[in-house]
């Protein structure tokens, strides 16, 4: 008893603090709080990238030229990422990542992590990436699948391992060595002299380089996994729990491929929109109804393109008792707050990009999985208003198109957005606006502003001025400015 009391008090105190923390975080979530965008937040980094000069690494001229060209290209792409607001400074998500990073760093003092910085990428793809030179990005989409610190630690540790093992550099070096080899040069010369068949020969030559790269990459992934596991084990994370993220990522395509995410008709039942669309069985079969084994659309990246996640799990945890993981759908756990934040940022990004098909899909998905209904009803209203507007400008297809896979929930939503009558878009815009959105909030006011300007075609200049007068510090200001 004597020993137990302080322990219970400590436990209660901890629970109390935790509840306060969550109450605070949840309170934040009742309104849509956005993180700062990279063009504003990372000005220093942008300046640094703009001043970037490729160091001299090779004495041989052509090798240095290749090195320069590749690095300049990589730097340019990185600069575009930062300047183009593809990153977000979301303190909640970034603090969590940095907290884990600090713990790994603190428990692996033999390694030098000093030059490494973590960033949050706004992509919906469940992924993370090491860009070399200390830049690691964790995608928003990853957070939908993460359920505990162990799993997040596994991903971060893996990326750190890539950086510390200098995988980017060694890959680059190997490629340059091949490109500057005599065999390669000779073959290139021969190809240049040819009148016909240049391209096929050139492709053949480059294919060798790609295969080599593929093998290398698989090996490097395992190497990064191994060192990553060492990092998290030293940092006292649970490796067994952590490794589950690999199994989850094996199913990460579900968000755009699964046909069981939600039933669209259920959300629209009481809206007053014409739902006969769902009853019609089209006679018409376009090529989208045909199964093409390999999707050649490279725009939509897939986790499946990586080394087999199951095998990587087995390598860490052994072949026995591979648990069945269901992921992505639940938010009622300790990581709910991070998922909420990530989802909000993703929906905002898709809306901002005018990817209405995706924005609508994610909003329905969020509603189905008990994310804050107020936020997603608001975004749905904004999506339908915007689609109505895009339709007037003959841009509905571009906005609604989500490159959906056949028979997926996403395709049902996409096809509905393609086919819905314009008057139904208007009906849905007002329906979702009035559905569980706090009518006194700034979010409601903005959705209402969009409805009035995009559907009711009210004078935009006056309407924006009125809104900004009421909310001079509005978080939506940047969207209005973009217009």
């Amino acid at each position: 008893m004597h020993f137990q009391l302080p322990y219970i008090y400590a436990k209660l105190l901890f629970a109390f603090c935790l509840s306060l923390l969550f109450a605070h975080l949840n309170a934040q979530q009742t309104t849509a709080d956005f993180g700062q965008l990279s063009s504003v937040k990372y000005k220093e980094k942008i300046a640094q990238l703009e001043k970037y000069t490729v160091p001299v690494k090779y004495t041989e001229k052509s090798a240095q030229a290749w090195y320069k060209e590749i690095l300049t290209d990589r730097n340019k792409s990185l600069l575009e990422t930062f300047k183009g607001d593809q990153l977000v400074y979301d303190t909640l998500l970034l603090n969590k990542c940095n907290e884990i990073f600090a713990r790994i760093k603190g428990n692996n003092k033999n390694f030098n992590f000093d030059s490494i910085t973590l960033y949050i990428n706004r992509s919906i793809i469940a992924n993370a990436a090491c860009y070399g030179e200390g830049t690691i990005m964790i995608n928003l989409g990853l957070f939908l699948w993460i359920d505990n610190d162990d799993e997040l630690a596994m991903v971060i540790a893996h990326e750190l391992a890539h950086q510390l093992l200098k995988h980017t550099d060694s890959k680059l070096e190997k490629s340059i060595a091949m490109l500057t080899s005599d065999d390669f040069k000779d073959e290139l010369k021969k190809i240049k002299k040819e009148n016909y068949g240049k391209f096929s020969r050139f492709r053949e030559l480059m294919k060798g380089l790609n295969i080599e790269s593929g093998k290398h990459s698989t090996y490097k992934e395992s190497e990064a996994d191994s060192l990553g596991v060492v990092f998290i084990r030293n940092a006292k994370y649970n490796v067994t729990t952590a490794a589950k993220i690999l199994l989850k990522l094996d199913n990460a395509d579900d968000i755009y491929k699964s046909n069981k995410l939600y039933v669209l008709k259920d959300f629209l039942e009481n809206s007053g929109a014409n739902l006969s669309y769902f009853n019609v069985k089209p006679k018409y079969n376009g090529l989208s109804t045909i199964q093409v084994e390999m999707n050649a659309d490279k725009d939509l990246d897939s986790i499946k393109t990586h080394p087999d996640c199951i095998k990587r799990y087995e390598a860490i945890e052994g072949k026995n008792n591979i648990p069945v993981v269901t992921c992505c759908t639940g938010v009622n756990n300790t990581y709910a707050i991070f998922k909420e934040h990530a989802m909000l940022e993703m929906v905002r990004y898709e809306y901002e990009k005018n990817a209405i098909g995706w924005c609508t899909h994610l909003s329905f998905f969020a509603l189905k999985n008990n994310y804050n209904p107020s936020v997603y009803n608001q975004f749905l209203s904004m999506c339908f208003s915007k689609l109505f507007y895009e339709d007037k400008l003959l841009r509905r297809f571009s906005a609604a198109n989500a490159n959906a896979e056949r028979e997926s929930t996403l395709k049902t939503t996409q096809d509905f957005l393609f086919a819905a009558d314009t008057k139904d878009l208007e009906t849905l815009a007002i329906y979702f606006l009035n559905l569980k959105v706090d009518s006194n909030s700034e979010d409601y006011a903005f959705a209402d502003l969009m409805y009035n300007t995009q559907v009711k075609m009210k004078d935009a200049t006056a309407a924006y001025a009125g809104f900004l007068n009421k909310y001079p510090q509005s978080k939506y200001q940047y969207l209005i400015q973009k217009k």
Binding site: G197, K198, L209, D297, L300, S398, N403
Partner: protein
């Protein structure tokens, strides 16, 4: 070719080092420097699109990329290959998980001008069949009009479950055609040439295909200048190319010129033909009505459902001045829409033969060498027939008159209508049968009402009336638009920015 750039592009695939590859922004619009792009057709419907464009130039060849898009513009397959400097993709058809693309290479880089390639949906080439015009028997002399109308005589279609058919106009200018039946994997099954039975001239073109039969229109004339001609419906066996039937379409003093063949909702093959007096055909043929029948594709037997005579059958809805001319002008029937309830709507346009003031002045100046003839295309109309096949109503769709100069005076009305059709001068573009066949929309170009010239979708109501949707395409510097046929219920709007050498392809709803 800038080898270094391409190397860099390929390198980009493997230089980035991510745990799970780099994410990409979803881009919903296809932006490309386009050389040619065509719809992929299956059983007369658009099922996808083939975009074919040059990605690099070499000394004597060029590098091309073929992108296969589904009906929602999502890329499902692609291929890159070398070809002639100016290789053009003309048509694309789909059948049983394969595509056949018809190419034209004026430089004959691989020794042939015309060829088709068969691809699977991922873009992997499975076959190539070239066209060798030397096989065609040479005729006495050519036909200038036919030579200009190559596109009319050449056709490509799918044959349900069997493969593809491609039809070339004879280079020997006999007026004959060369037909190639190609199996699904791209192997030539049989090749056949048809020329006129008599004389030197035959108009031949592919009308339609069924799983058993390839259906052709044939018009034989004694010579280019001959006043008379014989018209046939020809059926060739899909299996071996043998003639199943050659049905004369001159019946009881009337010439029936097949206009379209399509399946109705009861799954029967319907044939629609325009009617003219047999003794007046070709030289001064004037359409006096049209006929609807049911066609047996194995025997060529046609069971006439009704011959509509403009004077007798349309007098309750249209005032006729003569057998072929109404008060509104001559009638050009474009399509017959077979509605769900069994009723029909004929979509047509009125046109007149007029004299151009400018042309007349030129005629005087050149002492009669110029042509003063012009065609004036007037309103569109919807002519409705009840289930009893009686004309019920005629709804005029007003649009501004369009005047088209004709190459010569004294053109017969029938030929004038054909020239206007082939040159795409009529406002009518095509009919969209809709996703489930319930909404039929006619796409047309013109100045409808007070609106300026543009593309308008006219969605035909089952019972009466129509609704219009106009595609307003904003004018911008160095930007031009093309409206193409899209999947059912949609049109494709292609925006070409010549400055940025970029094409944006977009779909828009027609109703």
């Amino acid at each position: 070719m800038t080898m270094k750039k391409t190397t860099l592009l390929l390198l980009a695939f493997f230089i980035s080092l991510n745990i799970f590859s780099q994410s990409k922004v979803l881009d919903n619009v296809v932006d490309i420097e386009l050389q040619s792009s065509v719809e992929i057709v299956n059983n007369k419907q658009i099922v996808g699109y083939a975009l074919f464009y040059k990605i690099d130039k070499m000394k004597k060849t060029a590098l091309y990329r073929l992108s296969i898009l589904d009906e929602n513009l999502k890329e499902i397959g692609n291929n890159e290959f070398e070809g002639g400097k100016d290789l053009i993709l003309r048509r694309a058809v789909y059948e049983s998980n394969h595509l056949m693309l018809s190419f034209y290479d004026k430089d004959k880089t691989d020794d042939y001008e015309r060829f088709v390639k068969v691809f699977d949906l991922k873009g992997k080439q499975t076959g190539l069949v070239s066209y060798d015009p030397e096989k065609v028997k040479k005729g006495m002399f050519g036909a200038a009009i036919a030579a200009q109308m190559e596109m009319i005589y050449e056709g490509t279609d799918n044959v349900e479950g069997k493969g593809f058919v491609t039809v070339y106009q004879s280079k020997a200018k006999t007026g004959g055609i060369d037909i190639q039946m190609i199996d699904i994997n791209g192997k030539l099954k049989w090749e056949k040439n048809i020329t006129a039975d008599k004389g030197d001239r035959a108009d031949l073109y592919l009308l339609s295909t069924t799983p058993n039969t390839l259906l052709f229109f044939e018009m034989d004339r004694g010579s280019v200048m001959a006043r008379d001609a014989e018209i046939f419906l020809v059926g060739l066996s899909v299996a071996d190319g043998k003639v199943l039937f050659k049905k004369p379409m001159d019946i009881n003093g009337i010439t029936y010129e097949p206009m379209l063949i399509k399946k109705s909702s009861d799954d029967k093959l319907k044939i629609v033909s325009t009617m003219a007096n047999q003794d007046a055909k070709f030289a001064n043929a004037k359409p006096i009505g049209f006929s609807i029948g049911e066609l047996n594709d194995l025997t060529g037997e046609i069971k006439t459902l009704k011959d509509f005579n403009y004077v007798n059958d349309l007098s309750n809805v249209l005032e006729m001045k003569s057998a072929s001319k109404s008060e509104e002008g001559y009638i050009k029937a474009h399509d017959i829409l077979l509605m769900k309830d069994g009723s029909m709507v004929l979509v047509g346009e009125f046109f007149r033969k007029t004299v151009s003031a400018g042309g007349m002045a030129m005629k005087l100046l050149t002492k009669g060498n110029a042509s003063a003839a012009q065609a004036t295309i007037e309103d569109m109309f919807l002519l409705r027939f009840g289930t009893d096949l009686k004309a019920k109503s005629l709804e005029k769709i007003e649009k501004d008159k369009e005047r088209v100069p004709m190459p010569t005076d004294g053109l017969p009305i029938g030929l004038m209508a054909r020239i206007l059709t082939y040159q795409h001068n009529f406002g009518y573009m095509y009919t969209d049968e809709g996703l489930d066949g319930s909404k039929k929309t006619v796409l047309a170009r013109g100045s409808f009402g007070e609106e300026k010239y543009g593309t308008v979708a006219l969605t035909i109501d089952d019972v009466k009336g129509y609704t219009t949707k106009r595609f307003n395409l904003e004018r911008e510097k160095k930007v031009s638009y093309h409206v193409l046929r899209g999947k059912p219920g949609y049109v494709v709007i292609m925006k070409y920015n010549s400055k940025e050498k970029q094409i944006t392809v977009n779909l828009e709803k027609v109703s």
